[in-house]
Structure formats: structure tokens, C-alpha cells
């Protein structure tokens, strides 16, 4: 039996987006797959990945005093580290560019670590994630995070096999109130208008508001803004669902309206149709919902996608399209002529590399360049013959470094002899 370890210490959404990698490893013959996650996400990981052995550690900083942290690290984490150290992993996929991940890698022979490794006190990053860092300034043509993490394994499963095709489950509409980054979420008045229009069109009998306890008040504000008939059918569940409740609820819906959130990825995992609002730093080609049957409303002002860490100097102009009354009309008619300026409606599609999105309203000026980039990446990952585009040399010069060519240690993937 071969043991594989994936270290994913990031957040809710990232955990779900690791699915293609984990599913690929699980699909290998005679494989036992292990997942190291933050302790707070272990119950969710257990629900999403029932066939994977979990190794929870305390990595996130929420709510721990200094004293509690010391105990969590030196006693609880240490026990988890001891168990990890006892297992003879064939490969360790250490996914996050974080000091914590590098330190955790110190447990393992660096030769066995892909991603973020630790060798005699030195942090090392392997080629695939370092390439991804280089295309991070080319976000408009970027690839989906699920496919990026899946790309650690050249034998990754087909993208269609990652999540079930989305279809309504009969349980009404779910609405995610906000993501972690407030600028990427819709203000309550706009959200309430979109919700009301969607609920009326679909004649949903049940609407649920989803989020953490900190979003409960926002949920109440939204409720007040809804027409009375819809308000009566709406329940504010913000802060009232544990992971099991959330999985059950999201898995029962006909549709989820959401910004770019972990709940959105959970819906995609469960095959619940997503209608996602992407604006500000959220860019659907990077973190859009994975699977067939999802819709993304992507703001496309010239300043996008921006960096969430930098303040917006343009008055969050990317919100205007969502506030435009014609957007409500578009949601009702799905006619391209009703699509407001500064937005594209995309439907999820697959290509040979993985998840992509095709415009159903609005023009995607980057589509051609993105398609060429995706072929370039696919060729890199699999060696698949896909021809050479006019942009391949440019991509190669941007994405590869001289040292990749000159000083790269030959990997098992490229070794000829």
C-alpha cells in the first residue's frame, strides 16, 4: 500500500478546492490518502472526504490565547506530527505558501515533498507552484485552483469526474450573505433585489440565508428589504448551522446565490447549481465553481481583477453592474441584450485541462489568449501534443525561469534515462 499525504492548511474554500488532487490520489491503485487540515475544518473534511484519513492540526489563529496556543502546538500538534512521522509516505503534497507549511515539511524527507519543502533549514518551493506564482500577474488567463492543485499529479482524474453535474434538489434557494472579504460581497440592498427577483422567477417555496454568526445581522437587514411574500418564506440561518447542517442544507437546494465563498465550493461539490457573483478580487477563472451546470456573473471593469489587500481607488466601480436594474432583467430573461455594461455571464464548461467558463452574455476578450495558455499548461503537465501557438514562446519566457532550464534537478516526470 502506498500512502500519500496532502497538507492543506488554508480555509474552507481551499479545502473543497483540493478535491481533484485528493480524488486523483484516491483513484490510484492500492493507495491510502491522508489529509492534514486545520482542526476547525476537520469535521467538514470528514464529511467531504470520507475515504481520506484526517490529521487535524491547529494552524489557524482564531480565538487562542498565547498559553492555549503553546499547548495546542507543543502537545496536540506534536501528537499529530508524531503520527504523521510514523507513516512512510510515498509522496507529500504540501500546498500552501506559508511559513507553517514549510515548518511542517521538516517532518519529511525533502525528496518526497512536492510543493513547499524544508531542507536543512532552508525553505524550498518546487517547480509547479513556483510557475503558478509567476502567472499570478496574468490572472485574466489563469487556471482554476482546483486544476492547479490537481496538477501536482500528472495522472489527475478527468475534470468531469470531480463533482457531479449540478441539478436542483427541490429544496428552494440558498443565499450566502458574504464572503471573508467584504469587497467581494454584494451590499444587502443589491443582494435583496437579486434575491427577490430570483425567488419570484423560480417560485421558490423556501429561501435560506447562510453565513457565519457575524453575518446574522446582515441577514436580518436583507430580510427587511424583501417583499412580504418572500420574506415569509425566508429563514435566516446565519450562525445557526454546524458543518453537518450546512452540508445537508446546501445539498438540498435548487440553487445557491453566492459571492466567491467556501459555501459556493461546497455547493459545487454537492452538485447544487450555483449562481455566483464575482467582483473585485474574485475572478472566476481562478476560483469559480467547479463542475457542469453553474453560472457566474463576473464583473469586468478594466481595473479587475484587483488585489484584495490593496484599497480600491475607484469607488468599487465593479459593483455598478450588479446594481444596474437591467441585471435583474437579465436574470429574468437571460437575454444578452439585457446584460449591463461591465459584466459577463458565464456558464461552466470543461476542456482537456479542467474547468473553464464560456460567455452566454457579454464578450470575453481574453478567451483566445486564455485558451492558448491552457494548452501551454496542459502540454507542460502531461506532455500532451497540442501544437505550438504563437504565444508559446512568450508564455515560456514568462512562466519558466532560466534556472528551470539550466539548473533544474531532473524529476521523475521528465527523466529519460
Amino acid at each position: 500500500m502506498k500512502h500519500y499525504l496532502v497538507i492543506q492548511l488554508a480555509r474552507f474554500g481551499d479545502l473543497i478546492q483540493t478535491k481533484r488532487l485528493l480524488a486523483t490520489l484516491c483513484a490510484r491503485a492500492d493507495a491510502r490518502v491522508h489529509l492534514c487540515v486545520d482542526r476547525s475544518l476537520a469535521p467538514l473534511a470528514g464529511l467531504v472526504y470520507p475515504d481520506v484519513t484526517l490529521h487535524p492540526v491547529t494552524a489557524h489563529g482564531t480565538g487562542l490565547s498565547g498559553l492555549q496556543a503553546i499547548r495546542a502546538m507543543l502537545v496536540d500538534n506534536r501528537e499529530a506530527f508524531a503520527r504523521l512521522r510514523e507513516i512512510d509516505f510515498s509522496r507529500v503534497y504540501n500546498l500552501n505558501y506559508s511559513g507553517l507549511n514549510y515548518r511542517l515539511a521538516a517532518l519529511f524527507d525533502p525528496e518526497k515533498v512536492d510543493g513547499h519543502a524544508w531542507n536543512n533549514g532552508q525553505e524550498l518551493i518546487t517547480q509547479w507552484p513556483s510557475m503558478a506564482m509567476r502567472w499570478s500577474d496574468q490572472r485574466k488567463i489563469s487556471i482554476n485552483l482546483v486544476d492547479f492543485w490537481g496538477g501536482y499529479c500528472p495522472d489527475m482524474i478527468a475534470p468531469e469526474a470531480v463533482n457531479p453535474p449540478a441539478e436542483g434538489k427541490g429544496g428552494g434557494i440558498g443565499v450566502v450573505l458574504a464572503g471573508r472579504e467584504s469587497r467581494r460581497s454584494l451590499p444587502t440592498d443589491i443582494l435583496a433585489r437579486i434575491m427577490a427577483a430570483t425567488a419570484q422567477k423560480s417560485r421558490a417555496e423556501r429561501v435560506v440565508l447562510l453565513g457565519g454568526a457575524s453575518e446574522f445581522a446582515a441577514g436580518q437587514s436583507v430580510l427587511k428589504l424583501l417583499p412580504a411574500g418572500i420574506q415569509a418564506r425566508t429563514r435566516n440561518l446565519a450562525g445557526k448551522t454546524d458543518w453537518t447542517d450546512l452540508v445537508d442544507t446546501v445539498g438540498s437546494l435548487d440553487m445557491l446565490l453566492t459571492p466567491d465563498t467556501g459555501t459556493m465550493h461546497l455547493a459545487a461539490h454537492l452538485g447544487t447549481p450555483v449562481h455566483a457573483f464575482f467582483l473585485s478580487s474574485a475572478w472566476c477563472f481562478e476560483t469559480g465553481p467547479y463542475g457542469a451546470g453553474h453560472t457566474v456573473y463576473q464583473a469586468v471593469t478594466p481595473c479587475l481583477p484587483c488585489l484584495e489587500t490593496r484599497p480600491c481607488d475607484y469607488g468599487v466601480t465593479c459593483l455598478k453592474a450588479f446594481a444596474d436594474p437591467s441585471f435583474i432583467r437579465f436574470m429574468a430573461t437571460h437575454k444578452a441584450e439585457h446584460m449591463p455594461e461591465g459584466m459577463i455571464a458565464f456558464e461552466s464548461r470543461f476542456d482537456a485541462l479542467g474547468q473553464t467558463y464560456a460567455p452566454v452574455a457579454g464578450t470575453d476578450p481574453d478567451a483566445d489568449q486564455r485558451a492558448k495558455f491552457r494548452r501551454f499548461v496542459l502540454s507542460h503537465l502531461t506532455g500532451m501534443e497540442s501544437g505550438v501557438s504563437d504565444l508559446d514562446t512568450l508564455f515560456a519566457q514568462r512562466i519558466y525561469r532560466e534556472r528551470d532550464w539550466i539548473a533544474r534537478t531532473t524529476s521523475r516526470r521528465t527523466a529519460l534515462f
Binding site: I70, R71, V75, A82, L104, N120, G121
Partner: protein
């Protein structure tokens, strides 16, 4: 003085390289957290540039560029290790730009210039860029340093490392290989070549490099003139009845030059409890008293004393023992490094900074871990009052996969950087 974090920057190669290693070892034994910049690892690549057969200006450009990369590597190490002191040995690969950057960033730097300032004159360019400049010669060098803008010059003679330079029992095979009545271990400088031609009638062995081309001496050269390791040196010192110690000179007119500084071999031989005949130096008398060393002033005196001491084994042993006692008392690298740090504290205001490094056992660690943490400190040769920051660095210096406890401590450190300090 609190335990300090010290980065020792070794040269690419050369005579100050072993001394840098001894200094680092001594600083560790004084309880400081020491990180060593292994510049010799870069030397092969640097030397390979000289085999390119390109124009001189191109080679010059390439060498400068390469040394700039090495300098930047030192700076990167400083940024990560955050030392209280950067101790550079003579010829350390720190260019002007790097030294300016260290000064701008408030990093205290010291150079131990273990060279003859008359022959190795590059100090005029670099000395003002260091905060402390330790030298092995006195006047006029110290005044000259003052004139070019280096007010913090310290006379810091060479020394021995008693853990390494020590009396040693040799096997019969080793005694045969390394032993002789008279020997010299060192490079074939012109004054030595001329002087040692007069010793060919003795049971005399010559060790070291740069002896080729002298048909009189060549039959005496051991190991075909190969470089002798420091470990082999100690065996030669221990196996020889009379170790010659003639300070080098690039001219052969005067064989005994009566120069000022005392070479490292003087201290190393004495620390080994080995008998030596050393040429008299102007700075020798303040290092050793009468009866602690046997000296000579001329070739005639050297030849006479070789004959005399070959007959006086007990007297040799008595002098050697006294010499060893004196070195252990006053001339170890530990005493030198302590003197350097004291001088730095005296001259550099506010140094060392009183950081708020918390002692490991001052923190509220789970009591069940105390025994294991103490074992860990023992394994890493760290004092019990070590700070958490120093423990983390010491763990980082370990090679290979780490234990679960080691990893948990590194993880805790990183977590605190991410979250605790932010809150």
C-alpha cells in the same frame, strides 16, 4: 554579557579560514548562538571563472558579479538570522555595498584581520566600513587605522583552541608517519627555504605546500607537498621532538626577520604541549614569559639550540608544559572572543541590544514537556536559559527530517509570528 547571536563569515579560502572556524567554535563554547557563512562552498565556482579563457575585462566583470551574489547571500543570511554581530574574517566576501547596507540597517560588524597589514594592504579600502577592526599587530597599524576613519581598532592576537590543539597519544604507525627529531609544518616561503637548507643533516621532515622546485629540500617534503589538514597538523606537532617555527617572510636576505605579530602556530604548538623553537618577535614577550617558550634570534642560534635540545628531553618537556599552561590561561580563542565582545560592548553604544527574548523555561510550557525540552537542549548543546528564538534557530541548523517535537517548536514559532504578534 547575555548570550548573543553571531554570524561568522568565513573567507573563500586562505589562512584565516581555519581561524574563523576556531573562532566560531570558541563563540559556541562561550554559549553564544553561532551561525557560520560557509564561503568556501562558493570557491569552486569562483575559481572556475578563471578557466574561461575570456578577455580580462569580461573575467573581471564575472568575478565581481559572482562576489556580489556571495555578498548578497551573506545579507540574506543576516536578514533571516538577525545576528547581534557579524564577525568577518580577513578576506570575508562582503563587498562595500553589503557593508554599507549592514551599517544602514544597524547591524554591528567586526573584522578580525589576521594578516600582516604591510603585505595585505586592502584593509585601507575596507576598514572604515566595519564597526570594529581587530588586528594582530600594534603600532603603527592601530594609529593608521584611526587616520583612515577606523577608531575602534583592537589588538587581538592569534590563539589556540584547546579542545582541538591538545596533547595526543599516537599509534606506533602514526608516530612513524608523523614523527621525526626535527620538523617544520607550513608553506615554503623564501626565508624558510633558505634557512632549512642548513638542516638537511638532521632527521628533518618538511610538511605543507609550496616546497617544490628546491632539489635540496624536496627529498624532505612529506606527502608530496600536499595540503596538511588541521587534524594532521596536531599529530605532527605531537609526534615531533623539536617543532621549528620560523615566521614567514617573502624575502630571503634576512632569514630571521624579528617582525611583530605572533603566528597561530606558536599558540597551537604550545597548546599541544609540543616543544617548539620559535624565532623571536617583538610581540612575543607579552604573550609568553621566559621559560614558557624556547626562542632563537639567528640561524646560528637555531642550529645551536637544535643540537642542545635534542640532548635535553626533560628540559624540552618542562618548557612545553609551561607554554601549554600559559596558552590555556591567556591565549585561547575563547579568551580572544570574550575580549572582542567586551571591546565591542565598550565601543558601540547600546550594543548588544537588550531584546525581549524570553527564556524557554520562563514561558508557560506544558509541564509534562519539561523533561523532553531539557533533553532537547542537551542534544543541541544549548544552555538551560536559552531563549526561544535561539532554540528555534538551533533547530533550523539541524539536517535531515526533524522529530515531531522539533517540528512542533518550529511550527509554534511560525504560528506566533503569524498570529500572536499580530494580535
Amino acid at each position: 554579557m547575555k548570550n548573543l547571536r553571531i554570524l561568522v563569515v568565513l573567507p573563500l579560502y586562505g589562512g584565516s579560514l581555519p581561524i574563523g572556524r576556531y573562532a566560531a567554535s570558541a563563540l559556541k563554547s562561550l554559549g553564544h548562538m553561532v551561525e557560520v557563512f560557509e564561503a568556501p562552498d562558493f570557491n569552486g565556482a569562483y575559481e572556475s571563472l578563471k578557466n574561461l579563457r575570456v578577455t580580462g575585462d569580461r573575467l573581471d566583470y564575472l568575478q565581481n558579479s559572482f562576489l556580489n551574489v556571495v555578498s548578497q547571500s551573506v545579507l540574506a543570511k543576516v536578514e533571516t538570522f538577525e545576528p547581534d554581530l557579524v564577525l568577518a574574517m580577513a578576506q570575508a566576501p562582503l563587498n562595500h555595498q553589503a557593508l554599507k547596507r549592514l551599517r544602514r540597517d544597524g547591524v554591528t560588524t567586526a573584522m578580525w584581520f589576521v594578516e600582516d597589514h604591510r603585505l595585505f594592504t586592502y584593509w585601507k579600502s575596507f576598514a572604515p566600513f566595519y564597526d570594529i577592526f581587530a588586528v594582530i599587530q600594534k603600532e603603527p597599524f592601530i594609529s593608521e587605522l584611526g587616520k583612515i576613519g577606523q577608531p575602534n581598532a583592537l589588538y587581538l592576537p592569534l590563539a589556540a583552541l584547546p579542545e582541538f590543539h591538545r596533547p595526543m597519544s599516537l599509534t606506533p604507525v602514526e608516530q612513524r608517519k608523523f614523527g621525526s627529531e626535527v620538523s617544520f609544518m607550513g608553506a615554503g616561503y623564501p626565508n624558510r627555504r633558505a634557512a632549512f637548507r642548513e638542516l638537511v643533516n638532521h632527521d628533518f621532515k618538511l610538511w605543507g605546500t609550496e616546497w617544490e622546485g628546491d632539489h635540496v629540500l624536496e627529498p624532505l617534503v612529506q606527502m608530496r607537498g600536499a595540503r596538511v589538514t588541521p587534524e594532521e597538523c596536531v599529530k605532527i606537532f605531537n609526534a615531533t621532538r623539536i617543532n621549528l617555527n620560523l615566521h614567514s617572510s617573502v624575502q630571503a636576505r634576512e632569514l630571521v626577520t624579528h617582525g611583530d605579530f605572533v603566528n597561530p602556530r606558536t599558540f597551537e604548538l604550545a597548546a599541544c604541549g609540543a616543544f617548539q623553537l620559535v624565532d623571536r618577535r617583538t610581540l612575543l614577550d607579552e604573550a609568553f614569559a621566559d621559560g614558557e617558550l624556547a626562542t632563537f634570534d639567528s640561524m646560528e642560534e637555531l642550529l645551536e639550540k637544535i643540537d642542545y635540545f635534542l640532548e635535553k628531553q626533560e628540559e624540552c618537556a618542562e618548557i612545553a608544559n609551561k607554554g601549554r599552561e600559559r596558552v590555556l590561561k591567556d591565549h585561547t580563542y575563547q579568551t580572544r572572543m570574550a575580549a572582542l565582545l567586551d571591546f565591542t560592548a565598550e565601543r558601540i553604544e547600546g550594543w548588544p541590544s537588550q531584546g525581549n527574548d524570553e527564556s524557554l523555561f520562563g514561558a508557560d510550557y506544558p509541564p509534562e514537556l519539561e523533561g523532553e525540552l531539557r533533553q532537547l537542549l542537551g542534544r543541541l548543546s544549548l544552555p538551560e536559559d536559552v531563549s526561544f528564538k535561539d532554540l528555534v534557530w538551533s533547530l533550523r541548523q539541524q539536517e535531515g527530517a526533524l522529530t515531531d517535537l522539533d517540528t512542533a517548536i518550529l511550527f509554534l514559532d511560525e504560528w506566533q509570528k503569524l498570529y500572536a504578534k499580530r494580535s
